[in-house]
């Protein structure tokens, strides 16, 4: 997929676990895991907003565009 989610680095920087973040944003661990492993087809603005709020970052820090060959 050309759009990637960069949750790994953000979680590491903020010393948060996936479970903690899931609790804070109100998602299940299963869904957050789908997001983290780039298996998601789409992300809701509300989810993105909650992630930005809890991780104290901008959407651009969560999403990354990579050119695929």
């Amino acid at each position: 997929m050309a759009i990637r989610i960069k949750l790994d680095q953000l979680l590491l920087d903020r010393k948060l676990t996936l479970t903690e973040l899931a609790d804070r944003v109100g998602l299940t661990i299963a869904n957050l895991s789908i997001l983290k492993t780039n298996k998601a087809k789409a992300i809701r603005f509300s989810t993105l907003e909650a992630l930005c709020r809890e991780l104290d970052c901008q959407p651009g820090q969560i999403l990354e565009f990579t050119k695929e060959p």
Partner: protein, 229 residues
């Protein structure tokens, strides 16, 4: 009545199809066994009933034809030409055209019996195939997951099977008609020696293919929805 889940219409149909499948499988086993022992049975006394389509003609005052429409313009009433029986004087002469039925042939050849046994086995295998596909779809409905990715494939297979089955049926009846025309003589009955493919069955097959595509689109949307976080 519920459509999905246990105790639903889907589960009842699935149970009924399970019984049908059982009897079709038994029929297949019996036919296969009979075909295998056929070479060891002495020839006289073979009697085969096969599907045919035929036209009934003559002076019989018959009315009706195969379900369908037929129009003729400028045709003269020829009831005066024949000599209808007195008790049928008020009736018109008519023709029973392309009637579907069966003909029983006594003292058929061993090759003819074997060919029909193989045809019957193929029909039963075809029946098992369709039942299995439908039951696979019903199982997903019973589990409450109609948008299973495999459903589109199962339904598409049924659609193709209906279309292919109609061609096969038409070819089989045509072959039986050719055989009957050469080996059976019934007064006033003429076996149709041209293939008769049912237009509506082909349409049903195409409709099933369209439904299969709708299912595939639904499955794609369902997957997309479930992977939207």
């Amino acid at each position: 009545m519920r459509v999905l889940g246990k105790g639903s219409a889907a589960s009842i149909i699935s149970v009924v199809l399970g019984f049908v499948r059982f009897f079709v499988a038994i029929g297949l086993a019996i036919t296969a066994f009979a075909t295998l022992v056929l070479p060891f049975v002495p020839p006289p006394g073979y009697r085969v009933t096969v599907p045919v389509s035929f036209t009934v003609e003559g002076l019989s005052p018959l009315h009706g034809r195969r379900p369908g429409f037929g129009f003729e313009v400028g045709r003269k009433d020829d009831s005066a030409e024949g000599e209808p029986a007195p008790d049928n004087a008020a009736r018109k002469r008519a023709l029973l055209d392309r009637v579907d039925g069966s003909v029983t042939i006594d003292d058929a050849s061993k090759a003819f019996v074997a060919a029909n046994a193989v045809a019957l086995m193929l029909i039963l295998v075809y029946g098992l195939f369709i039942i299995d596909q439908v039951r696979a779809v019903l199982r997903t409905l019973i589990h409450g997951n109609p948008f299973d990715p495999a459903n589109g494939t199962h339904i598409r297979r049924v659609g193709f099977a209906v279309i292919a089955g109609e061609f096969a049926r038409a070819m089989l009846v045509w072959a039986e008609n050719l055989y009957a025309a050469g080996h059976v003589a019934i007064e006033g009955v003429r076996f149709d020696t041209s293939p008769d493919i049912s237009f509506w069955t082909l349409i049903y097959g195409l409709i099933i293919l369209v439904i299969a595509e709708v299912f595939r689109a639904g499955t794609r949307l369902d997957q997309e929805q479930s992977l939207t976080i």
